[in-house]
Structure formats: C-alpha cells, structure tokens
C-alpha cells in the first residue's frame, strides 16, 4: 500500500486507446468475453421467470424500516 497515492485526474472524455498490439489483445479479449456471456445468457434463459410483464407489475411492496 503506497503511503501517498497520487490520484490520476482524468478528464470528462474517454482516454485514448493503446498501440496496435494492445488493440489486438483487447479485441481477442472482447471475443472471449462475448462467448462467455453467451453461455451465461443461455443458462439464465432457463431460469428467468416467464410472463415478465405480469410478474413485474404484481411485485409491489409495502415500505419498511
């Protein structure tokens, strides 16, 4: 743990990407993430409640605390 962490000020805009090599790595990483996400979505399709509209409409709670 550094004693004094310099806070990197970042502007409002998105920072620029790296060189070509890092972009290539980034895109293969993106592919990997996408395929991983597809598997997750397939699994979640199996358990997601049906009739989402009706289900959500009927979910009304009394306040608590």
């Amino acid at each position: 743990m550094p004693e004094q962490k310099k806070v990197q000020k970042k502007g409002g805009g998105d920072s620029a990407g790296g060189g070509d090599g890092s972009q290539e790595r980034a895109s293969s990483k993106t592919e990997e993430l996408k395929s991983e996400m597809d598997d997750i979505l397939d699994e979640i399709d199996e358990v997601l409640e049906e009739n989402a509209e009706e289900f959500i409409k009927s979910y009304v709670q009394k306040g608590g605390e």
């Binding site: 550094p2 009304v60 608590g64 605390e65």
Partner: protein
C-alpha cells in the same frame, strides 16, 4: 480513541406470492419465520426498558410472563447462531449476530440468505396448492417503495456526533461506486431524471435529508437513532440506513470493511475535512452516473469525483492502519479497496465479477445486445428483480456465481456453519450457545440480555451490556461445565 468495531447487518427482504391476488405479506412473513424457527418461537423478545442502575448490580430477578404469542402473534425469534429473525412491517427481517470483523459479517449475512431459503422450502407444505412465495434480497420494488438494509457499528460515546456527520457523509456519498446493487431507472419525485436508464444503487433515490431520525420518509444520509443495545455511557450504535443489500461478497466486504476503518479514523480525529456543499444532490448524482466520473462540489470549493473522494479516505486509512492497527484483517481491506478504486478509474466494467451493480449492468447489456432489447423492456426489469432472488437455483446472482462469474471471499462450509453457530469473539457467542444448549429454559432474549427460567419462582435476567464480553475464550469453558440452566446461573454468579 478508536474502539473495536463490533458490527452487524439487518436486512428486510422483499416478499411476494407470484400469481396470488390476495397476498398478505405480514402473515406470510410470520409463517416463513415460524416454520423455520419451530420450538424457538416460544422464546419472547425482551423489550424491557434498559435500566443501567439495576443492571450494574449484575443479575436481576424478573417476574414470569407468557411466551412470544403474547406479542401480537408475529414471529420474532432469537436463533442459536446469535441472530434475530422476525417480522418487521410487511417484511421478513434478519439481523446478523454481532461480528468483530468484515469477513465474519459477510459470512453471517450470507447465512441469513440461506436461512430465508430454507424457510421458503419449509413453508411450501403449508401453502395452498399452486401458491408459492418469492423472496428478494433487494431494497426497492421499482415503483417507489423501499425497504431497508441497515448496518450497525459500535462507536465510542466520546466521539461527538457532529464529527460522525461531517466525516461520514462524503464517505457514504462516494462509497456507492462499490456498494451499489444496481437499479433500472429513477424512482420518486421531484427529481425525476428521465434520461437515466440505470443507476448504481437501489437506495439513493429515497434519501432527501442530510441528518435525521426518520427511516421511512424524508430519509436522512446520517440516521440519528440512538439505541446502543449496550452500555449507553460508553457506546453508541451507529445505525446506517443509506446502504444497499448486497449479493456480491466483495461488495458486502468492502461496504462494512471500509466503513469500519473510516469510523476508527473518525474516533481518532484522523480525517481531513471533505464536507460536501450539497450531500443529498451529490448522493443522487453519484448514483446516477455509471461512468463514475461525475464531480461533486466540496464546501471548500474543490470539485472531486466519487473515486477521488474514496482515494482521500483510502490514503488516510493506509496511514492510520500503519500507525495504529497494522493487522492482516486491515491489510486485506486496504488491498481490496485500492484494487477496486484502481479498476473503477480504469473502467468500472472490469469489476463485473466483484461489484453488484456492474455484474447486473453487464448482464443486462448482454441481453440487450443478443436480443436487441430497449432499456424499457420487461425482461430487463425481470433481471433487475431476479438478480436478488435468494434461491440458489433461480436467483441470477447465484447463476453467475455458479458459473464462476462472481469472485468469492468465503466458503459454503463457513456459511453453512454460520446458520447454526455464533461468531466466537463477541457476546453473540454467549447468547447463541446458551440458546442452543438450553432453549427450553430461555424465557426471553434481546441483544443485551437473556432471561433464564431455572425453575424457581423468579426468572433471572443476565445483562450483556458489553458487546465484546461473552466470547468463547471468556465463557466457553464455563458453558461446557454447566449441565443445566440452574448450574449455568450458579456458575455465572460464582
């Protein structure tokens, strides 16, 4: 002077009966708890006014009275793991036992989810054919109704409350970047922010004041409730109502771990003044920016992002810990805190395995991209709710966890054990162990007392005003020697 942070989490769970028109949440919550608690239901909650003068003498004789059914019939039980499980308003509520560190508290918070899950299974056989209950560990129904998750921390009575307000408010505003459980849209008036499709926290929309006693309307960022459930001359129990219920173990760990460290720094007057110009507005603004870049104005005129505010706290915490309490538990919190802030600065989406709101947002984005859904699609609203379903085979958080998509900090074996066993190192050890050993002899229980029926005319109240007394080290041997409740009382008095 900083004191040890004994802490706990109370969670009001959302409850519904999908497809049932005349659902009664109060009766259902009571059924849920009663079916889990069984015989423990006869032990009533001890609501007696605190009486420090009498308690100072130690034991106190109290007249016998009826069981829990007298208290309006709603389930309200103390469990052998030191927790309290009861009906609050129209919700089942679970309060963890007192824990001495963040990791234990994550374990006990998860044990609460498992107890709700088991209660759900136990309750099924009492429900009419075709009916079921659903339980959600979240804080909003998406229609303007909120129910709370409250953290509790033991703080020194010597610390002026105004210092807590000054130093905690900017911390609570900024910690949302890693504690938020995520939510679609914005609820409540008058600040309807219609172009916000997703925000970091479930709760921020419901906060309208800076400081106050309320918890159900005009909710304040700093709640002033002052019921220490401990020696009031020495302690305050800080009741934090501004947090979300977390599914993610990392979010949960960071939430309580960092807050405990900040409280110790406040007790040592170790923090710079980071007071915000408009805390309520800042709370909403931070929650409504998933890039985590929004700047908020400080009283001194500086403009900082939530992440920059968090760096201020972390930098001081690292120094404080090095000077005062350089132990593995603190180092673990500091390392995680630093890694999280670094990742948030880089790209918040890299935290989808650690932080609830990011996990939920990425899941929704996945659906949007695959199925071409608009942000208003009901399927996304279903995901927003079902992420918090406590059933491990249906809850979306648990589907992610099962697929190795969520980082774990604790083991299933630890969580299972915490359903039945109290922590070793707080007074919850004494309460839970006695309840487990002699349930038939406990007439009533509360956070700071047990009332034991030893068969003689008057009951015996055992006060427990010190949250760190009654640990396994202190009373484990004595409890193992007590063969019956009368022997226990004799040993304690000896």
């Amino acid at each position: 002077m900083a004191i040890p942070k004994v802490m706990g989490i109370e969670t009001e769970y959302g409850i519904s009966s999908p497809g049932t028109s005349d659902f009664d949440p109060v009766t259902s919550s009571s059924l849920l708890i009663g079916s889990y608690a069984g015989a423990l239901r006869k032990i009533r909650w001890d609501y007696e006014q605190e009486s420090p003068m009498r308690d100072a003498r130690g034991f106190e004789a109290v007249p016998a009275r009826g069981g829990a059914e007298e208290d309006g019939g709603l389930a309200n039980v103390s469990l052998p793991n030191g927790a309290r499980y009861y009906v609050d308003h129209a919700h089942p509520e679970y309060s963890t036992p007192e824990c001495s560190n963040a990791r234990d508290l994550v374990i006990h918070d998860k044990a609460g989810e498992r107890i709700l899950e088991r209660s759900l299974r136990e309750t099924e056989r009492f429900l009419p054919q075709g009916q079921r209950l659903a339980i959600y560990k979240n804080n909003s129904d998406g229609k303007g109704n909120s129910y709370g998750t409250h953290e509790n921390y033991l703080v020194s009575r010597e610390t002026p409350f105004s210092n807590l307000v000054r130093d905690l408010t900017p911390f609570f505003v900024s910690r949302q970047v890693f504690t938020g459980a995520g939510k679609l849209g914005v609820e409540g008036e008058p600040e309807k922010d219609s172009d916000v499709v997703f925000q970091l926290t479930q709760r921020a929309d419901f906060f309208e004041a800076e400081v106050g006693l309320e918890t159900t309307l005009k909710r304040p960022i700093i709640n002033t409730r002052d019921e220490p459930h401990a020696d009031p001359a020495k302690y305050r129990r800080l009741h934090v109502i501004v947090g979300d219920a977390n599914m993610s173990e990392v979010s949960s760990f960071l939430k309580v771990g960092t807050t405990a460290l900040v409280l110790k720094m406040i007790e040592d007057d170790f923090l710079p003044d980071l007071a915000l110009a408009n805390p309520v507005k800042a709370l909403h603004a931070v929650s409504r920016d998933i890039r985590c870049r929004t700047l908020v104005r400080l009283d001194d005129g500086r403009m900082l992002s939530a992440i920059e505010l968090q760096w201020e706290y972390l930098t001081r915490a690292a120094k404080w810990s090095e000077d005062h309490e350089d132990d593995p538990s603190n180092r673990d919190i500091l390392q995680r805190w630093e890694a999280t802030l670094t990742a948030l600065e880089d790209d918040p989406m890299t935290l989808r395995r650690q932080v609830d709101w990011v996990a939920k947002y990425c899941l929704m984005q996945g659906y949007r991209e695959r199925d071409g859904l608009n942000w208003g699609d009901h399927k996304l609203k279903m995901i927003d709710l079902q992420y918090h379903d406590i059933r491990r085979d249906k809850g979306l958080y648990y589907r992610l966890e099962d697929g190795g998509q969520m980082e774990r900090l604790v083991t299933d074996a630890e969580v299972d054990r915490a359903m039945h066993e109290p922590p070793d190192d707080t007074r919850a050890y004494f309460r839970g162990t006695v309840l487990g050993r002699f349930p038939e002899a406990i007439a009533a229980a509360s956070w700071d007392s047990l009332i034991i029926d030893t068969g003689v005319e008057m009951l015996q109240r055992i006060p427990m005003r010190e949250p760190l007394k009654g640990t396994r080290d202190q009373v484990g041997e004595l409890l193992s020697l007590a063969t019956d409740p009368a022997a226990l009382v004799r040993l304690l008095q000896g």
